[in-house]
Symmetry: C2
Subunit: 509 residues, 2 copies
Amino acid sequence: MAEKMLSPEEIEKLRIKEEKKAAAVAANAAKAAAGGDKKKKEKFTLKTPKGTQDYSPEQMTIREELFDTLKTCFKRHGAVTIETPVFELKETLTGKYGEDSKLIYDLQDQGGEICSLRYDLTVPFARYVAMNRIRNIKRYHIARVYRRDNPVMTKGRFREFYQCDFDIAGEYDLMIPDAECIKLICEILDQIKVGNYLIKLNHRRLLDAIFAICGVPEDKFRSICSAVDKLDKSPWDEVRKEMVDVKHLDPAVADKIKTFVEMNGKPFEMLERIRKSGLCDSNQDALAVLKELDTLFGYLRCLGVADKVSFDLSLARGLDYYTGIIYEAVVTDSDRGSIAAGGRYDGLVGMYGSLQVPSVGFSIGIERIFSILEEEALKNKKKIRQNATQAYVVQLDKEGDMEERLKICNDLWNAGINAEFTYRSTPNSRKQFDAARDLQVPIAIMFGSSEIETQALKIKVIETSEEFIIPREGFTDKVKEILKELESKPVLSVPTTTTTTTTDVKTNA
Amino acid sequence: MAEKMLSPEEIEKLRIKEEKKAAAVAANAAKAAAGGDKKKKEKFTLKTPKGTQDYSPEQMTIREELFDTLKTCFKRHGAVTIETPVFELKETLTGKYGEDSKLIYDLQDQGGEICSLRYDLTVPFARYVAMNRIRNIKRYHIARVYRRDNPVMTKGRFREFYQCDFDIAGEYDLMIPDAECIKLICEILDQIKVGNYLIKLNHRRLLDAIFAICGVPEDKFRSICSAVDKLDKSPWDEVRKEMVDVKHLDPAVADKIKTFVEMNGKPFEMLERIRKSGLCDSNQDALAVLKELDTLFGYLRCLGVADKVSFDLSLARGLDYYTGIIYEAVVTDSDRGSIAAGGRYDGLVGMYGSLQVPSVGFSIGIERIFSILEEEALKNKKKIRQNATQAYVVQLDKEGDMEERLKICNDLWNAGINAEFTYRSTPNSRKQFDAARDLQVPIAIMFGSSEIETQALKIKVIETSEEFIIPREGFTDKVKEILKELESKPVLSVPTTTTTTTTDVKTNA
């Protein structure tokens, strides 16, 4: 019976053992590679820590574009942003994550406070709200969090990964901020075009009421809830086995739970079905929650997103701190699991002091979205432009004038034009054009001895090979005009300067 | 003799002792505060770890604006960006920071690899270049780094703080990328308006040549260099004391060093002075470096920044890995120390493998710049706008129509307009206007029963109290027009949407 089931402690021990083995193998490999090395030079394991990765310029381009889109969406709803330290006092994180606490990274005790890397952005947010005695705030936070989990890099599961959170904290009227959160998730998913999606929605108090109706003892609510949470990955039989064999639930009670967790569907239809079934009639709390959900669904209809929601009684969400609605967005035409999730947590801020600040929010599973977008970019073989250079200064004569080249660049930079040139003092002109093409720079600005003589510059539009001559005096205005014109042509992708101020850079006399 | 001087180990021990004391005091205070608390509720120390801080929405607004400015400058020079993990394998950091290595934060050994938080962005960059066998790259990186130093929060010295690095790696011709780095520092400092500044510049090989000329034994070069590095904070007598008493340098040699390190001035004038003095004539390497500097200064003149540079023989820079020019930017009308610093490090990438990639770059001391900017904002009592909301939807009748309110907001959001409303179902109209004013939202969009009846909306420009009525049908186009018009008036600060795409949000049918 249940022989194959390991306790979390046993799993943890196995993991540590596995890791030590892997580390030893790596160390031996490094030693072997060093071989008969007689030099004093040390050998390094050239890698990033397990479960972490570097982001290349190409990946960063995709990431920053996505971050900008997300920020635009958050700001559209009036959100501000905060930043918190990457590590917190360990006690700040203690008792917030249930079974997952074992995944927290600790800093070594080097004298002083005991700290841990943040596990999510929600707990630091609650700590921030409590510490600053903030009564209401609507904030977003895009930052990395840390989990000593088993990484599956190909599926976008890392030990260090970005989270992207939006939360509304404050004492407000029923379901209004909750509805806005769901609307905002839809806005984001529509805008980033991840494909068709569905938002599964349930309510923690309804789930508790269901457990009560089925006859689950109250002290087993959270552990049975954890079991239900596995239904999106495991079939009912396995979950039932866990309930009965591991968590010692009466099999008849487990079977009753099944009747409920099998129910899901369109919001108002589900409300109707549950009411008609009479299954909840015996429980006042269940009836109250259903009424609250009726209000929420009404708001969602006004916000045009009711049809994106599936009211799903099997949705449980692992974290302990939820107290109201819970939800998870899943892409329906792939098996990537949830790409956004959240819910209401009215007690979390109060865990840090006397101030109670009810809150609701969500987290976007940005790493999964990245892996979708990167896969697509790979499939389309789209070359992603990583720089924003607008002009490449080309010296035509090999034994040319380095100083003139620098002066031209200097004029471009001072005029706020993004410009590059080759770091060779005696450059080859073909190589310079190759570099410009490789960087996807729209125009080249060329000069040789004849241009210096006539006080002129030659402009070449790289894409069309069109060339023309402009006077050296005040040439930056003309370059700006050309760039503007090219920008308006959809064929060419000219980067726009993302300058925050529109004034030119001050010229250093 | 030297009784009062403590070794780094002793200082470290004292620091740990002090911290333990502070931690104990804090714990006792917390216990006392908990007092006769009979509830089971745990008491938390509500704080961020020592040397770290939260950034409020107001601070984040200043920070993000500054980051945007910096990114614009970096992109103007064709830089791409990368991201690396917040922690590295400990061995990646070992042997890179000299005496400062004791300040590295370690992660606890929880089974698996031994890791440390990154101490700067340069070493991870070198590791990245080596690991990916990159032959040339020009990248910027804005991210936080970690140093277990004694924090002085008021002076912008933290244990967790942002660094903002720009580096050019690649085998290039003499002094060309070096000159661009110095030009770029000037562009940045000019643009962020920190006041007058000077870039102190020296050369590591020249410093070594000077030590040789003075008769410093070769095995003392690095430790004497560390002593010279303290000259910006300590007077010569103290530094001399360290050289002679602690580092056992011949007093006559120390006095010779003084003649050199007292010299600083305008680039070409200094070259002339050194040549005329004949002080370096005996050392071929010194003469070679002076010739290289002549090339650099010529380039700096072309880039219009030669007059920002002070060639200063006392500049040493603490880090071990520099091999060429070194520089530090200081604000001349305050005593904040350096706000940007860098240099050439040709050997660092090679420490990770066989590939040698010469590099040059700098780091902007962004925390110091923030503290300057924040101080200024405080002095000017400027209220910093933290949100980007463009329209506040106001329900005029207390017993109003919640659903209509949501529908109006929904239309605004779907049209890409940043909109907010109150989360009260029965709102007070004065409080709604107060909220709009408090958020500095430019316009209010109002409706009551009469507007619903006539299918209209009332618009109010908050700043001028100007009001007009527009039809409900297609009202978002009209709102966009109004916002555009207000934006063009300099009196009103209307936030522009920073949307990356110009298309509207897809409407959810």
